[in-house]
């Protein structure tokens, strides 16, 4: 399965945008206009969001948090399948477990990764952010006072 799209138009990248449902998702949708000219696919945890992404490819998988180990493993597996199918050039996430897996797996398979820490993390970077940050090629926070010289960096917010 060769990645035809990329070969046809090298400037057009395959972007996998990932967030769990709720606030992370709303933030993700505010950030993805940056990828308008690229080939976008979404992964989230609520199927009802499909209507919001228009013609873009869309995957919904069951949510899990760090208190549900089995759920997490299943989630990781599903994410692996999606990443294998999508073969993204870029993986971007605004948060939570599903984004963590997407970034780790995406990175293993050669994608460039972006973690935009949720704007709800005002006092410190999120747990998943702390563990994923060093693995992300671009690690951003949405609050200037949380920025560090080695990341997360601050380049504005979704507001």
């Amino acid at each position: 399965m060769e990645n035809l799209t990329t070969e046809q138009d090298p400037a057009r990248k395959r972007v996998l945008a990932v967030a769990s449902g709720g606030g992370h998702w709303v933030q993700l949708l505010r950030a993805t206009p940056a990828f308008a000219e690229h080939d976008l696919a979404y992964v989230t945890t609520l199927a009802s969001y499909r209507a919001q992404v228009g013609a873009a490819r869309f995957y919904a998988i069951k949510d899990a948090s760090r208190w549900n180990k089995l759920g997490l493993m299943l989630m990781a597996l599903k994410v692996l399948v999606i990443v294998l199918r999508e073969r993204p050039d870029i993986v971007i996430s605004t948060g939570a477990a599903v984004g963590y897996f997407a970034l780790r797996i995406g990175k293993l398979l050669g994608a460039k990764t972006v973690w935009v820490d949720s704007i709800a993390n005002v006092e410190k970077v999120s747990l998943s952010g702390q563990s994923i940050g060093k693995h992300a090629d671009l690690w951003l926070t949405q609050w200037p006072h949380l920025a560090q010289p080695d990341g997360p960096h601050f380049c504005g917010s979704v507001l």
């Binding site: 971007i92 709800a120 960096h153």
Partner: protein, 541 residues
Amino acid sequence: MIFVTVGTQLPFDRLVKTVDEWASVRPYADAFAQIGPAKYRPKSMPFAEFLDADECRKKTEQADVVVAHAGMGSILTALELGRPVLVMPRLAALGEHRNDHQLATAKKLLAQGRIFVAFDETELLEKLEFLNKYQATERLPVCACPSLLSTLRSFVNGQKLELPLVEGKLQVDPLNLVDVEHKQTKHRSNLQPLRPALVAISGMPGHQADVWDGSVGDDLLGEPQKWGNRGVDLADRFDSPLRSQAATQTIKSRLASVILLAGRLRTTDLAKRIGRSRLDLPVDATRSLLAHWRDEVAQLGEKWGCDNLPIRVLLDRLAPTPMLPPVIPGVPLSVERDRSEYRGTGGILRDACSIYDDEAWVLVANAAQLLFEELHQIVERLAAAGGEINVVNENDGIPNGLILLKCGVLRAISDIGFHDMKEQVVPAMARQRLVKVVSSHGVTSPPIHSLHDYTVALRRYHGKNTDNRSVAGEKNERWQSRFSIREKGSVVAPSAVIHDSVVLEGAAVEREAVVVRSVVGRGARIGPGQIVVDQVVSGTN
């Protein structure tokens, strides 16, 4: 319609129940609640456990106001649709969330003026009563801020990113001042080395700085403004001229900006009738009140050897934006709007000064005042007083609003609640910090709220420029006009009499009309022979 929403993940009965009980005694309340996986079932309003994204947006759009938990999904959706949103944060202590991040988010966004917050049920009940005061706002653009988007875009396209370096404190705009009209955005660096002491102190004989121990703060409720002059005590005895000199030198080298507070606590009839900011009122033929401050600050900068002394005008969310007078080199002028709910000058100042170092100094003043003495003279006295917060009291014991302070002292002001700088913060701080009071006599006018304040201030201001003796002699003789200001763009017939009055641009005063202690506003016409006394005449009446 009030749309209550708590997100999909967790119940938030405390919020739903409070609104439900409130709605039960407010039959006119029209509310709909999305309650999540909750046990509590509302009795006084229709509800749903979950709404899908589309339904949720639809409900938000239909609502006049959204009452929500402090989740970013609910908040962003409301802001995107331009709906005012009142949030109550979930608390970890009550098992409502895993941690208190909602509390932190709520405080931050409150400080940015984007949302309204009730921190507990009592406050929620109070605020529910006033929901009809919340107005629809401008819709948030549908995508993230341009700098984030462009960073992401460059990243995807494989371009080299220019990530901002973090060095100590970031130079960011903590108030998220959307209306900023920065003529020059860079504020003076406060990290300059101390300049060598070479200026002799121009101490003002007869002006004694008093240490104020803050004890008045205890009877704030009684007489909030009377700070009373304490006799010369302890700290003054230690204040040798040398020490004052050192204090002045330090402040001279570290004065970061002059901050003019121009929020309006109450609407003034004068400003409303003339349809412009009070800061745009003329003080003489060519200058507005703001231009008057600009000139005074320029002179201060010159005397103190500051190459760059910015003026920052801070407006609250409702105040009209003043027109900016031409900028003098070295005195950049910016107008910044604090969009938060009114929370007192203390909080506004703390945020405005968070870009400065703890050791930087700022001069704070009420913009709607005229200065009767040159600003640099007043500030010299304040600086020589040697406190960390130096204030000017008029002889009647009332502070006049001029405060020279070290930015570090502002850090202690709490994030939430209403803190008036003059009446609450300074009295409270006097317990830990060295607050000095410089007594003075009429160096500033009282704040200009009304026509009376304005004309009285102008009489005094213009009096000081004429021969002092004759002014003293006819102090109370109001028949002698001291000023007659015709703004450029006004039409005044030669035979008209403008007595202690101001004719604004776009106004007309015809022949033989007499205007006394009045302001004639844009579009107004005083007909031939008409007599106007003590009035604001606007175009519409």
